[in-house]
Every structure is written in structure tokens, then in C-alpha cells.
């Protein structure tokens, strides 16, 4: 225990790491994302035991094995409901959910939409590589039309999910896209998402160097441009919607949209705003008044 006059040692990125080394492929976009994440946590000086991470299943979510925080490596597509409940019960925890494009925009897309309209203070980071990597290369919900993969040898027929437009129409309150090839920029977006009081989506382009030979580092690098400095106003939903439609020769990264709105938890009137349900005494619940209702 630190005594009152002792200054705690500042946290560094090493405080969020364990002794294991990621098993991602050399050059995988997840490496850059993990660095950006740890840098963001360290810069915000968030103590590991006050963090709760919830992962889904996929290459993205194997992150769970290489960090030193409280966390749940949950089921495929189900990270958000777990994260929502953690935040509802104990608002003192900083809750961050992570998963891939298949996890969040495919099998878990229902929870994605409902979590956004719920607007709990959660940061959701989606490792979007437009492919199923862990299962060795099938099309994902964000694969471009025409992409050939093991499961779509003649090319994807469906149009891709547009996660940012989906987030805007589902009333998320912090909507950003980053690129794992630009760690410093991504770190700022993650920090912004964590600091934002509400549901923050950070869609991260992170190339899969093994199974996606279409959306490669050079492919992304040539197309991305930063919204910062373009005059884009993140408070303007219509502008955000227009920018969210850009995908092709030019792909915007940065903060698309942000607004202040009460969180779901703020609007539950049986609890004080930051009251933890853990603090309730349950040792002797008196139900005698309710029993009278049954007479």
C-alpha cells in the first residue's frame, strides 16, 4: 500500500503487458493496434485493476492473452452484452470492448446496433481487416464486393456493411476510424473514445497480411486521409454521414462524429449516477411490504 505522501510510479505500457508474446503473424495489423491501445492506457494513467476489457472471438480478441488487466474473452459476437452489463453494474470500471469485423458486424451486429442506441460509457474497438483471419480466410461482412476468398471463390455478391454509417444511424455518440499503420493517430482516437462519456466506436483498418491480399498496407496507405485539417466538423451529423459514404480512392480516418448525450445508466432513476450496485447491502432484504400486495 502506498502511504498518503508517496507518489505512485507513473504507469507505462509495460504495466499492461504480461510475459507472453502475441502469436499474430509478423506484420499483422493487430500489432500496431495493441501498441496504440497500451500507449493510450498509459497516457491516461488507467490502473489495470480498474479496467475491464471484453473481447469476442477472433484474431483481434486473442489480444486477451497478452495483456494484464481484468477481462473476459467471451463468445463470438457477444462481447458487447457482457461489457454493457459490467458498466451497468459498476460504473467505476473503465470498460473497453474489442473484436473483429466478423465478430461485431457479422454474428454480433444485433448487439452492436442496440448497444449504440443504449449509449453506455463503453469504448468499442473493432479490428477491421475485411476478412476472417483466425478461420483462415473467408469473406467478412466488410469484404468489398467481388472479393475472392476461400468461401467466395467467385467473389462476394453482397455489398459490405458500412460500420460508420450504421453507427451514425444507430446514434452512437463517438464515431471514429483509425489505421493501425498510423499508431500515433490511432492512439489519439482511442484516448478520445475512452475519455468520451458514452458509446464510442473506433473502427480500425488493420490489414491481414496472410489472408487478405486485396486490402493490404499499401492499399490502405494510398487511400487514407485525415479528417483533422479538412474543416470537418464532428458535431455535424450530416457532414459525418457524407464522410462515412467515402470508400474507394479516398478513405477518411479520424473523428467523424461526437455528441454529448446522457448514457443509459444516467437515465436509470433508481440509482445515483455513479452508484455501484456492488455497494448495496443484500444481507437482509425485507420483503414484508411486497407480501402485503398478495393479500
Amino acid at each position: 500500500m502506498l502511504s498518503d505522501n508517496q507518489q505512485p510510479t507513473p504507469l507505462t505500457i509495460a504495466d499492461y503487458a504480461n510475459t507472453m508474446f502475441p502469436t499474430w503473424c509478423p506484420g499483422c495489423g493487430n500489432h500496431g493496434l495493441l501498441v496504440a491501445m497500451k500507449q493510450a492506457l498509459a497516457e491516461l494513467q488507467l490502473q489495470p485493476h480498474k479496467l475491464f476489457f471484453v473481447w469476442g472471438i477472433g484474431c483481434s480478441s486473442n489480444t486477451s492473452n497478452w495483456v494484464n488487466v481484468y477481462g473476459a474473452h467471451s463468445l463470438h459476437g457477444r462481447a458487447l452484452p457482457v461489457a454493457v452489463a459490467i458498466k451497468l453494474v459498476n460504473p467505476a470500471l473503465t470498460v473497453i470492448a474489442e473484436g473483429g469485423d466478423g465478430d461485431g458486424y457479422g454474428i454480433g451486429v444485433g448487439h452492436f446496433i442496440h448497444s449504440m442506441r443504449r449509449n453506455l460509457d463503453i469504448t468499442y474497438i473493432v479490428h477491421n481487416n475485411q476478412i476472417y483471419g483466425l478461420t483462415t480466410g473467408q469473406a467478412s461482412p466488410t469484404s468489398d464486393k467481388g472479393m475472392k476468398s476461400k468461401s467466395t471463390p467467385c467473389g462476394v455478391i453482397e455489398r459490405p456493411i458500412n460500420p460508420l454509417a450504421l453507427a451514425i444511424s444507430s446514434n452512437a455518440t463517438y464515431i471514429a476510424r483509425g489505421f493501425s499503420g498510423d499508431v500515433a493517430h490511432l492512439k489519439q482516437l482511442i484516448m478520445g473514445g475512452i475519455k468520451h462519456r458514452g458509446f464510442a466506436l473506433i473502427d480500425v483498418l488493420q490489414p491481414c497480411v496472410t489472408f487478405n491480399n486485396q486490402n493490404t498496407y499499401p492499399w490502405v496507405q494510398e487511400r487514407v486521409y485525415k479528417l483533422e485539417g479538412t474543416g470537418h466538423d464532428p458535431k455535424d451529423k450530416a457532414q459525418a454521414w457524407q464522410r462515412a459514404q467515402e470508400w474507394g480512392d479516398k478513405i477518411p480516418i479520424g473523428l467523424f462524429f461526437q455528441e454529448d448525450r446522457l448514457t443509459y445508466r444516467d437515465e436509470i432513476d433508481q440509482f445515483a449516477k455513479d452508484e455501484s450496485l456492488l455497494d448495496h447491502d443484500i444481507s437482509n432484504i425485507d420483503i414484508s411490504k411486497t407480501l402485503e400486495e398478495f393479500k
Partner: protein
Amino acid sequence: MKNEKNKILISGNEAIALGAIKAGLKFYAAYPMTPASSILHFLAGHEHEYKILVKQTEDELAAMNMTIGASLAGVRAMCATAGGGFALMVEGLGFGGMIETPLVVGVVSRPGPATSMPTWSAQGDLRFVMHAAPDEFPRIILAPGDAAEAYHLTFRAFNLADKYQLPVIILSDKNLAESYFTVEQKEFSEGNFAIDRGRIAQALTGQPNSTYLRYDPSIPDGVSPRAIPGTPGRLFLANSDEHDEVGYSEEDSASRSAQMDKRMRKIATIIKNQSLGLPKWYGPAKANLTLICWGSNKGVALAAISQLPDCNVLHFSELYPLDVPRVQAELGKIKRSLCVEGNYSGQFADYLYERTGYQVNERLLKYDGRPFWVEEIVAKVKA
């Protein structure tokens, strides 16, 4: 009429909800589904009075996974649904079993499969709840026979879930859920209502390099202390992948076997501790015929033996796991038996045979969605 002042009129679902409140329920999640919805309605109507968070979710997958999240966060949490909704919760049930988080799940049955007959009753989900989710993990199944049992068993379900860190399923049905019972109020106010939250790891400060073994496989009874997130010095990963003692993914042969052994050892611990009660006898101690039943058929069986001399009832409400030698001893007292249950094949009779070797003499089965009538049982016995 003065005695009536001490009585209450309450349904099975309301009794389950009240048992959960008494147990300190803090989080309830559900997707509407008949005949479980009145639990949701009752709890939502009392969430201010008891400071509970009641969440209607987008689907049953969210309900189950939110319940797991709330339990992981450290509060008493529950979800409930019917058989079809439970089908959607099953992957989550396995997740709860894998990460050894306490879970209380209500399954209020109606006929199946699929949508079937939503507002009718059945006991067809016994085998389903017993085996639901891939592979094996310990669980407890309770099936109350009336409103008072629903109340007390639900209260106990939370203690059992916390004590053994596993899912506890309360298996009910439409017949119990929406039947109203006149009960002495003291049946709800008297009893042992001590809260047991099980083993919880306390904060560890000043030892930054010590490792907390959340899933320590060497623990003899299988129940390793759990930590509440936010506690200093107790970081762990609740991992749906097979994991090592900290929670990190691990597929090593010895480690996998050790974790399976650790989890499954809890079944022996539950039995050794005699945490579950034996079946209960009703009617004369000695009789030519015993009606064997479980769950909601308690009422109709008791009504039937009031018209049948030389007939008693052996009723099961704590179904799984069975303490086999002690249950065998009870079954050994039976001369002849008739097993009365609301499903096509006689799932409980088969389960008894599988576990104890005891074969019921006859079965009275009903699967048309209606509860048993007293007259049907009496007629069957007299035939």
C-alpha cells in the same frame, strides 16, 4: 375468516421473482417469452423499491450474456425464459460454466419443439436443460413443486450458484408459473435466509509481482476463490477458451485435463456436502403404490392420493446432481410405482433408471399441453 389475514395468493412466477429479490438480486435480464414474462413484469415493477436493474434485451443471447457480465462484475444476477429462448441462451450457459461464474437461470417450459404451443404447459425440457451446451460442466437443476418451493428454491439457487460458481437452473413450467397458490404467509417469512456469497478473493496490495490463480486446479473441492473486478492485485481473465490457472488460453494436455477435473469435481463436492435435498414423501409411510413425480406435478399428485387409499407420493424438486446412494435408499422403500410426468417419453423415469438403476413400474405421460387432471391419475391407478 380471521385466518385468511395470514394467507397470501401468489403465482409460481411471482414466487420465483420474490425468492430472487429476497436473495439480493441486483440484475435481471430477459427477452419477453411466454410463460416466463411475468417474472420480468414483476421485477420491473419492483426495481425502484429493491434497487434492482431490470433490462429487457434485444434477444435471449444478450439476456444470457448480460447476466454473465453482471455476475462477473460481482452482483447477483438472473435471467429467465421458456425452452425456445433457452435454446438461444445455450452457448452462453456453456460460457458461464467455462468461466465458473455464478448464474441463476429460470426455464419456464411450454410445449416444444420450436414455437409450438406458447400458452400451454409441458415438462419436456428436462433432458434439454440437463445436457444443454457443448461438452460437460457442472450445473444444478431445481424444479419447484409449488409457490412456496419456488420461493425457497430460488433463494437457495443464488447461494448455490455463488458457493459452487456454476449455473443453477430453476426448471418450472406454465402450469406452475401461472397457477395461483393460497399459502400461509409464514411460509414466505420463516426459514433460513442467510446469504452465502461463497469464496471471494480479497484485495492484495503491496505484492505487485504475485500472481492470482483464479482457476487454481489444485483446489481439492474444485471451488477456487473468485475476484470481483476492481479489486487490487487480483487480475484474471474470464476466458471462454480453455485456460490456465490465471485464465489465459492454454491447450496443453495436462492443463486441459486438470481444468476439466477441477470443474467437474464440484459435482462430487455438492453431493458430499449434501447441498441438495432428497425427494420428499407425502401420504402414508407405507403404501402399495407410489406416485413418482417432479416439479409442478406435486399438487395434482397430492390431490390424487387424497382419493386413493394405499397410495403415496415421492416428489423430486432437486433434480440434478443426484446423490445416488441416498436416492436409491428412498426408492428402495417403494412397492410399486407410477411415474407421472408431462412429456412424451418419460424423461425423468429414464433419468432415474440411468442414474440409480431403479425402473418405475408404470408411466402416466401427457404431452397435449394440458396439466394432469386429478381424475386421470385416479382413473389410471384404479384401472
